[in-house]
């Protein structure tokens, strides 16, 4: 048993739902108790889809156990086929149904339905959502894709995008245009946008673009082996990665590399003088392995940040992320334990987090700005506007979305300059943060109340070992409220590391000098 407060990934059958919901003409019959239908709202409410996911749940109840849950499954499968007339079906069990061992795959085989029925073995008590998506897509491809004649013109399949994916919809558009610029058209995009008959003609493409290794790597490897289609290894997120991707495609196809950079703004925005305040910003990166790896490169090489920590929640990516972390001189954090991630961020005190919806939440609690780079995400991460992560436009989007929470850094300079101005005081808060940031900063380190003459001349720090002398406390108050928490912690760390038990104004400035970059 493992205590969990929040989780990064759902169960594997939710991964299968992400594949099924992205597709058309496919239906998923899921042996599951009634509460499992909650998963529908992920798609209809969080992703704002206008259709129900193509999933029929058997909805068994306690009174069915030990009697006719198997018949319930068969009847649900029959009804679902009759009602939806899909080109193909996938069948499986959720965690509870797995325990009652009805074997949906075996039962469906005996029913003689006139369309392919693909059984899914998704061990709920061992694996998670990304595995479920990867395995489901792999089984669909393995069953339906056959070797067929290649297209005369050079084509590729875009593989990996699913329902509920982070900006998958817009990445597809961006990648299609980028490949088209090189004279390559897209044969099939799968699983999202495809039907079972589209899957059957995937073999016509010359190669595969593996957009999201998390959800399609097994299928990519199978198609490489069985259909002779090589696949790209670079995830084209960021300027450098996009250029590398174009090079890789050129090598696979023998075409000349071509990338239209006329709309690319990240490099100039990053060089422009007002971006100097971004220099060396300490960032912590956490999410799915692929997005983390891409983000680390953009953060260091294209934004001038310092990567102080990185990690991923999907163990499948543990090895590449560990070796990447070595390159960046940090220890990788491979965990799906939200509390462990929080502890790590708290200890590292980065100036920004690049993470998931969960880290946005941690950041809110700790008063650290956060930009989202990876699933799991929230309704606000399915924007109406075009907002890809991949390719040229994706790089522009990254610059904007990462810099936005840091604009406070620019305000920081101004606050120093206008420290005594009537508009810049503790209660005013940064103009664009809707009043949340001061509260968060206070939570991170409770602001001391003004020392009263009657009070002792010193305050005890949180750990009880270091005390703040009165004048140091007053000096600390002059530091803008949203960096005060950090200054307090840095000073205390500095003092306790040197065995200093009282913090004076001098200690404060020695610490500032020590941490200055």
């Amino acid at each position: 048993m493992k205590l969990t407060v929040w989780t990064y990934e759902g169960p594997p059958h939710v991964g299968a739902m992400r594949v099924a919901t992205g597709m058309t003409g496919l239906h998923y019959v899921l042996h599951a108790p009634q509460g499992d239908t909650y998963a529908d709202l992920l798609f209809t409410m969080i992703e704002r889809r206008d259709h129900r996911p193509p999933v029929t749940y058997t909805t068994f109840q306690a009174r069915d156990l030990g009697s006719d849950t198997a018949n319930l499954f068969k009847k649900s499968l029959e009804d679902a086929y009759a009602r939806y007339q899909p080109e193909a079906l996938i069948v499986g069990a959720s965690c509870t149904a797995e325990l009652i061992q009805d074997d949906p795959g075996g039962m469906s085989e005996t029913m003689g339905l006139p369309v392919p029925v693909i059984p899914l073995e998704l061990p709920s008590y061992q694996r998670k959502e990304n595995f479920g998506a990867d395995e489901t897509f792999f089984q669909i491809v393995r069953t339906l894709a056959k070797p067929i004649e290649r297209t005369a013109q050079i084509t590729c399949n875009l593989i990996g995008p699913t329902a509920l994916g982070f900006r998958h919809r817009d990445d597809i558009t961006e990648m299609t245009a980028l490949l088209s610029d090189m004279g390559i058209s897209v044969n099939v995009v799968a699983p999202m946008t495809s039907s079972p008959s589209d899957i059957a003609r995937m073999g016509a493409a010359h190669f595969n673009v593996l957009m999201y290794p998390e959800t399609a790597e097994s299928a990519a490897r199978w198609m490489e082996r069985e259909l002779g289609q090589p696949f790209t290894k670079t995830v084209p997120i960021g300027v450098g990665a996009t250029r590398d991707f174009v090079q890789e495609v050129a090598e696979i196809t023998g075409l000349a590399p071509y990338l239209d950079e006329s709309r690319l703004r990240l490099p100039w925005y990053s060089r422009s003088v007002d971006s100097t305040y971004l220099t060396g910003k300490r960032v912590f990166i956490f999410g799915d392995g692929s997005h983390v790896a891409a983000a680390a490169r953009v953060a260091r090489d294209e934004m001038g940040f310092e990567v102080v920590g990185l990690g991923c929640y999907n163990r499948e990516m543990a090895r590449p992320i560990r070796s990447l972390a070595k390159e960046y001189g940090v220890e990788a954090l491979i965990t799906d334990d939200y509390l462990e991630v929080e502890r790590s961020i708290e200890a590292l005190q980065p100036e920004m987090i690049l993470g998931t919806q969960m880290e946005r939440h941690i950041g809110k609690r700790l008063g650290i700005p956060c930009a989202v780079i990876s699933a799991p995400v929230h309704v606000q991460d399915f924007p109406a506007r075009y907002s890809p992560q991949m390719g040229i436009e994706g790089a522009n989007v990254l610059f904007d979305t990462w810099v936005h929470p840091l604009v406070m850094g620019l305000e920081e300079h101004l606050l120093h300059m206008f420290r005594d101005d009537f508009e810049f005081h503790d209660a005013a808060g940064p103009s664009h943060h809707g009043g949340h940031a001061p509260k968060a900063a206070n939570e991170a380190a409770p602001a001391p109340v003004a020392p009263t003459p009657a009070a002792a001349a010193a305050k005890t720090a949180g750990d009880g070992n270091v005390i703040w002398l009165d004048d140091a406390e007053r000096e600390l108050k002059k530091i803008p409220f949203f960096v005060r928490g950090k200054a307090r912690r840095n000073t205390e760390t500095f003092a306790s590391e040197r065995g200093v038990s009282e913090i004076s104004v001098d200690t404060l400035y020695e610490a500032k000098a020590h941490y200055a970059r």
Partner: protein, 428 residues
């Protein structure tokens, strides 16, 4: 006091046939009750013993992380736990130790059963007893099931409250117990109205903290504020308490009838009742009249969700001038919902349980002006051109009693007003 709604002696829907179809249901399981219960009971922690699915459900149902440090969590069962039960009990002890060490502010711990823990027959009552012994007196440990094979949505609250009744201290005091988790503001209004009539002491289950003065006995009478509390009702009667059957306090009429039944029980005279209720009744009527303008003459179709459907249909048809086409409820407990059924005019299809595909067919054929449904169906139905109201808001929003009656009507009229406001071209 002569304008009390007269309950029809014949007619009403109490004896109407109920449509029962068996198929896929589109409802939450009882675990989701934790989302509001953990806000209501401020020193309680809810530990679900379940699967990754349970954890994912709670996270999704909680709107993906609206709370920094929620007082609920999941002990996720893993392969090794499924091997043998002795192991699972030891593992559970470990998790609870870890949890209580981290959260020293916790005074009540609920071990919440889920589908997988029910199927493997993990004995949580034994675990609760063992832990109560271990952590007493600082922490009380109880257990209940919120599993989807046993409960739907609001039944989770019922199971939770029912688990608290047997351990309440005994009392011989004559008292009124209000049963059901309400938003604080609403609860205070109810207690204030009753107190003004001289009724008391009034106590509320669930109390915000474990160290409350809640007790129960043969001199206790209780009124339900929510229609889904069947098991709690049974447990209270088992303790000798007596139920005051009444329509539920939705809208002006329901609130008045509910208060009147309690007032009668405590011998409140008409003049006092009138003095206390006249002003808020007038306010409620006025507010409903304003908020229900766009509801008059419109039709409404209820998918089953919270068991609030029948009292709400009664409110919408009698006070807001709507016409009900179908009123679906996950479960109909006539002993509790009877007074509301008596007041609901015959006509709508009453359905219990669900085959969602067949019910969707009926809904599409009827093309109601407003469809009340869960989160999985709302956007798809909107895409088909039907206006919808998310049922879940009716559970999370303050809607009970006089001061909220206008808001309640407003919840239903907002989707229709929005339709009128938007100039986006022809709908699908």
């Amino acid at each position: 006091m002569n304008d009390l709604p007269r309950l029809p002696t014949s007619g009403g829907c109490r004896d109407e046939p109920i449509l029962k179809q068996r198929g896929q249901r589109e409802v939450f399981c009882g675990l989701t009750g934790i989302i509001w219960l953990h806000r209501k009971m401020q020193d309680a922690f809810f530990l679900v013993i379940g699967s990754r699915t349970c954890a994912h459900l709670l996270q999704s149902a909680a709107g993906v992380m609206i709370f920094a440090e929620p007082r609920f969590g999941t002990a996720i069962l893993e392969e090794t736990d499924l091997a043998g039960l002795a192991d699972a009990q030891t593992e559970l002890d470990k998790v609870v130790d870890q949890l209580l060490a981290r959260r020293t502010d916790i005074r009540q711990l609920f071990l919440v059963g889920s589908c997988p823990s029910e199927v493997i027959k993990l004995d949580l009552s034994r675990a609760a007893e063992r832990m109560t012994e271990k952590y007493a007196p600082s922490v009380r440990v109880l257990n209940f099931s919120g599993s989807g094979i046993e409960t739907t949505f609001t039944q989770g609250e019922d199971a939770c409250l029912a688990s608290m009744v047997p351990v309440l201290p005994e009392t011989n005091e004559r008292q009124l117990l209000l049963v059901g988790a309400l938003p604080d503001v609403v609860e205070e209004q109810a207690v204030s109205l009753l107190t003004q009539m001289g009724i008391g002491p009034v106590r509320v289950l669930p109390a915000p903290r474990a160290d409350s003065d809640l007790s129960v006995g043969t001199e206790t009478v209780f009124a339900l504020t929510q229609p889904f509390l069947g098991d709690t009702h049974a447990e209270l009667e088992r303790r000798g308490a007596r139920h005051i059957a009444a329509p539920f306090p939705f809208g002006e009429e329901g609130t008045t009838a509910w208060l009147r039944m309690i007032a009668d029980e405590f011998g409140v005279d008409d003049a006092t009742f009138e003095r206390v209720t006249a002003a808020p009744r007038a306010r409620a009527r006025k507010a409903i009249a304003q908020a229900s303008v766009s509801l008059r003459g419109k039709s409404v179709f209820f998918f089953p969700d919270s068991q609030l459907e029948i009292p709400l249909a009664r409110f919408l048809t009698r006070e807001c001038g709507m016409q009900a086409i179908e009123v679906g409820a996950p479960f109909i407990h006539k002993g509790i919902i009877g007074p509301d059924l008596d007041m609901l005019a015959q006509g709508p299809v009453l359905s219990e349980g669900q085959d969602v595909d067949l019910q969707l067919d009926r809904c599409r054929a009827a093309r109601p002006d407003l469809t009340v449904c869960g989160l999985g169906l709302a956007n798809p139905l909107e895409a088909e051109g039907l206006s919808t109201k998310w049922a879940i808001e009716l559970v999370f929003t303050p809607v009970h009693f006089y001061e909220q009656a206008g808001d309640l009507a407003g919840l239903f009229s907002r989707p229709l007003r929005r339709d009128d406001l938007l100039q986006l071209g022809v709908r699908a």
